[in-house]
Each structure stands twice: as C-alpha cells, then as structure tokens.
C-alpha cells in the first residue's frame, strides 16, 4: 500500500474490511501504543501485555468485518480491548499470579533518577493493587475515566451501559478506593513521599469531567 498522505481512519478501516493486509498493518501501527497502554492499565501489572495486545488485534481482525461505523473506531477498539482484558483476567484467576514489577508499570522516564523511578514504581504498584480489589465494572469505568480520560458517555458506549450507570460506578469506585487506600499498609509511607513531591506538574491526559 502506498501511503503518500496519511489515510483517513475510516478509509483505513474500509481497506481492512476489504482484506487489505497492508492496511491492517497500518491500523496496527497506528493504534498499538494506545491499546498497549490501556491493556497495561486494565491488567494492573498482571499477565503478559504483549500476549493480550496481540489477542486484541487478533479479535479486531476477526471482528472488523462486522464494524458498521455506528461508533468511532477508537471506541469500538476500546470495547474490544476491555473485553479481551476481562477474558484474560478471568482465565488467569486459576493460574498462579506472577509478581508484578514496578518497572513493568512505570517505564523509565528521562529526567527521573533511579531512586525517584523506584519510588514512583512502588506507589503505582500499590495503586494498582488497590484498584485490583474493585469489581470489574467499577475498575473498568475508573480506568477508562481517570486514567484514559474518556467521558462518561464514551465509557457508556464502550461498555454498552447507560451513562447514569457509568456515573454511578465511578462514584462508588472512588468511594471504595478511598477506603481501600487507608487499608493498604504500604501507603502510609507513600503518603509521606507524596508530601515531598510536587505532583501538580505534567498531566499528559485530559482531566476527567
């Protein structure tokens, strides 16, 4: 496929639906980073991100012919991703858990000292540990809203639920998390660390509504 100009998303999807292998390769390249980030956040450090990302795009390839442009492709892609992750988590319950590493959740950023990176890793690890104690529906709503920046209506479309239901899930997710944080023993120290760090700078994702 010649790509002189960036192909419009809809056109790319249509080419994929027509069986254009190169177009599917392009689709993969365009969306793989977003899918990987979402998968990582939904998995919370459990499971093999590569395997799940591969499975997401495999499902996309199988199901793309059924995509009717009734929603944005990215919304549909998020829905597929969420479903694949949930399936993976359910099947993983019967398997031994791997110990997640802070490095897996927090890729090394330029400008961070090794100590800062390790400290951030511990905090995020604890955060995901707490997040993991939420029910599936609340966790998905929370991750999509607070971490991915989706609006409640976008989440509603993604998880096929009414907007009001999504808002309710978000409300209870935040409330439960606040309680769970107090019960997390490692967070006493983390709270002290947070006091020493300016957390007000740099927010790569839009603030949730």
């Amino acid at each position: 496929m010649a790509v002189d100009e960036p192909v419009a998303p809809e056109e790319l999807v249509r080419r994929c639906q027509a069986g254009d292998r190169a177009a599917f390769g392009e689709l993969f390249v365009r969306h793989r980073a977003d899918v990987a980030r979402l998968v990582q956040r939904l998995l919370g450090g459990q499971g093999d991100i590569e395997d799940v990302v591969q499975e997401v795009f495999l499902q996309v390839h199988r199901s793309l012919k059924d995509f009717r442009f009734g929603a944005r492709f990215t919304t549909w892609l998020y829905r597929v991703s969420v479903n694949v992750v949930l399936m993976q988590r359910r099947s993983a319950r019967s398997r031994p858990k791997l110990v997640e590493t802070p490095e897996g959740l927090v890729p090394l950023e330029p400008g961070l000292s090794p100590e800062e990176h390790a400290a951030r890793g511990r905090r995020v690890q604890a955060f995901y540990r707490v997040l993991d104690r939420l029910s599936e529906k609340k966790r998905v709503a929370y991750v999509l809203h607070e971490l991915e920046g989706l609006s409640p209506s976008e989440i509603a479309e993604t998880v096929s639920a009414p907007v009001l239901t999504v808002r309710t899930r978000l409300f209870y997710a935040r409330r439960e998390l606040a309680v769970l944080l107090r019960e997390e023993p490692s967070l006493a120290g983390i709270a002290r660390e947070l006091d020493e760090i300016d957390l007000t700078e740099g927010q790569p994702h839009k603030e949730p509504a």
């Binding site: 010649a2 390249v29 977003d34 991100i49 607070e146 606040a178």
Partner: protein, 380 residues
C-alpha cells in the same frame, strides 16, 4: 467541599499512573506473531511434513556471488505477469521459523514470509523445502512454481532457489521460478537474476536483466527458442536468452567455463534503447554497467529518496509512516539519469525534493545504459 486525605492520595496516585508512558514492547515480535496467528486462522490447506533426512547437495559450495544482484526475467509476449505474490495468496507462514520443513500448497497458494527480507509464494499444487534462512534464504523447489519478492539490499545472494540441479540466485528483485517437466522457467520482473548449474565451476551462470523470460534445462543450461520457429535449441551455458530472442554474452570474452560471476561481472542486457553510435564506437566504454556499478548507484538513489521522505513527511514519536513505491529510472549511455518515475507516485513534496537530486546522479558510461526498477520501502 475539601477533599479528604484519602481522596487527595487517590488523586495523586491516579496522576502518577497517568504519567506513565505506554509500555515499550517489542513491536516487531508482536506484529510478526499477530500476522502468523491471523494466517493460521485462515485455515489454509497446507501440509507441513517433517524434514527429510536427505541432505541437499553442496549448498555450502555455492559462491557468495554478490554479482547476481538484481534479477529480472519476464515472459515475452505477456504483460508484467509477476504480480506482487504476497497479495495474491491467501495464507502465509513465518519462513524464519519453518526450519527445513517440506511445504506443500494444495488448492491454494501459500505465502512464506521472511520479515524484512523476502516473501515468496508457493503456487497451488507445488512443493518446496526451505533449506536455510540465516544470512541467505535458500529454497528448494521440488514441484510446481514459486514467486518471490526480495527486499533490495547490498548483501549478496539474499535469496537462492534450487530447482533440480539449477540454482537461481537473487539479490533484490521480483521473479518467478517454475519447474515444468524437464525444464525450469524463470521470469523476472525486477532486477537481474543469475541462473546456472548447482555445482560450482561447471559452467558460468546466465545473467538476465528484467524484463525477460528464461528457460533452462534441469541442469541449469539455458534453452533458447528459435526466434520464428517452435524448436527449442539448447545454447551453451553463459548465453543469456532475451525476450527478443537475442543471444547475449554474459561477459565479454568469457567462456562458459569461466569462474562464477563476480560483483563486477557485466549483466546480459535486454535494454530497449539502442546504443548511440558514439558510445558503441568508443572501445573504452563497457557494453553494460556492472552489478557493482548499478548497486552503487541504487544505494545513492535509495538514500536520496529516503532522506527526502523523512524530510517531507510529518510524523511524531509514536507514529510511524511507511510508504511503498517502485522507482523506475533510465540510465543513459553517458551515465546520466533520465525519466525518474515512482509507481504509485510519492507525495508531491517528496517528489519535488528527490527528483532533481536523482536526475543529477551519474552512473559510469556504458554502451547500452540501463533501466533500473526497484521496490522501495520508505519509513519515517
């Protein structure tokens, strides 16, 4: 209402989690596995048998003939018959993971891909065996036909096909090899192909430049059809068969028993344009460009186009832009470049940047000049 400490802590943790960048995965591996899985899901009717214990003769004896750079064989009275093989077939395998398996394509063609290096299509009702896929991809065609697209490279002999006692060595090209009873048929769309006996030193290989078509005995000797008649005449090895029916020496003054071609060996030409009289009259000008000279020029072409593509294409850290195009340029007898074409055309900005530079490139002078066709993959 003021947030509680727990809520502030939760917000702070969420912010930190948001800051984390996307995981840095091995995307090539993921992509490779993904497409392999997709292909498996297509339920191709292929049979992959255990490798035979019989060793194929003396591949290690084959010369690393960089000379055999581009291949280019075409069927005479046919339009470009060698369509992009990957798109033509419906299933594919990871060639680098096949070992030395015997491959059999039943009712559907079978694609074998060596990521970043080559892809080849085994036609329906054909059999082949991958003999090796390390530095050189080596395939033995046992029955039927295969078509290959080899990514251009300066490395010699990136892809070799063995058919009975004939070897077809390629560098970067699009070509097709068919085993047809007691003969081997080679069609080359782009580049130059070297076809010769499997055993080293028995005869010089035949070099053919695209677009042309060649037929060979199972032992690798060329078979030439009479220009007007139906009779087939076997020519001595070292004689190329052009699609005009001309017999062209592979090397000036070389005998069929000469050593295998080197990177500087002249290529049998099927260039369409007639050589200018003044060039023909100059005894110091070679009849054709050598493979080495063409390769050197092609490297400059690729570098120029790539630089313009990177310069003119918008991109970002997380976005990779890939463009595929086939460049076609005519090298004049005086070494100048004329008629640079891209199919499909590149973006106007890339063309504006690259065409003037390409037209300034100079190849060595030759009597026949050359027509160079290459598939390009441009990445930003």
């Amino acid at each position: 209402m003021k947030d509680t400490p727990s809520q502030r802590l939760l917000s702070a943790l969420a912010r930190e989690a948001r800051r984390a960048k996307a995981p840095d995965l091995d995307w090539n591996r993921v992509e490779q596995r993904l497409f392999a899985e997709i292909d498996r899901g297509d339920k191709a009717e292929i049979a992959v048998a255990k490798p035979s214990a019989r060793r194929v003769s003396a591949w290690w004896l084959l010369p690393a003939a960089a000379a055999f750079a581009f291949l280019g064989l075409h069927k005479p009275a046919q339009p470009p018959a060698v369509s992009p093989p990957v798109m033509a077939a419906r299933t594919s395998l990871d060639g680098d993971g096949l070992g030395t398996s015997l491959l059999e394509a039943k009712d559907q063609p079978l694609i074998v891909e060596h990521p970043g290096r080559a892809s080849w299509t085994l036609s329906a009702h054909s059999q082949a065996r991958v003999l090796g896929h390390a530095d050189v991809i080596r395939v033995q065609l046992l029955a039927g036909a295969l078509e290959a697209r080899v990514v251009p490279t300066r490395e010699p002999e990136r892809f070799v096909v063995e058919v009975a006692d004939t070897r077809v060595a390629v560098h970067g090209t699009v070509f097709r090899v068919t085993r047809d009873g007691e003969r081997n048929v080679v069609d080359v769309e782009e580049g130059v192909v070297a076809v010769g006996p499997l055993a080293r030193g028995t005869a010089a290989p035949t070099l053919l430049r695209a677009p042309t078509h060649g037929e060979f005995t199972l032992a690798g000797a060329p078979i030439e059809k009479a220009a007007q008649g139906d009779a087939e005449v076997t020519t001595p090895a070292g004689v190329a068969v052009s699609h005009h029916g001309k017999r062209l020496p592979t090397a000036e003054g070389s005998s069929p028993q000469d050593a295998p071609a080197s990177p500087d060996a002249p290529v049998a030409s099927v260039t369409q344009s007639a050589a200018p009289a003044e060039a023909s009259a100059n005894p110091h000008i070679a009849q054709t460009l050598t493979i080495g000279e063409v390769e050197s020029g092609v490297s400059s072409v690729v570098a120029t186009v790539n630089a313009c593509f990177r310069e003119s294409t918008a991109g970002s850290r997380d976005l990779r832009v890939v463009a595929h195009s086939t460049i076609s340029l005519d090298v004049l007898p005086n070494g100048g470049v004329a008629n640079v074409d891209f199919t499909p055309p590149l973006a106007p900005a890339v063309l504006l940047c690259s065409k003037p530079k390409l037209l300034e490139l100079r190849f060595p002078a030759s009597v026949e000049g050359a027509k160079i066709v290459r598939h390009l993959e441009l990445t930003r």
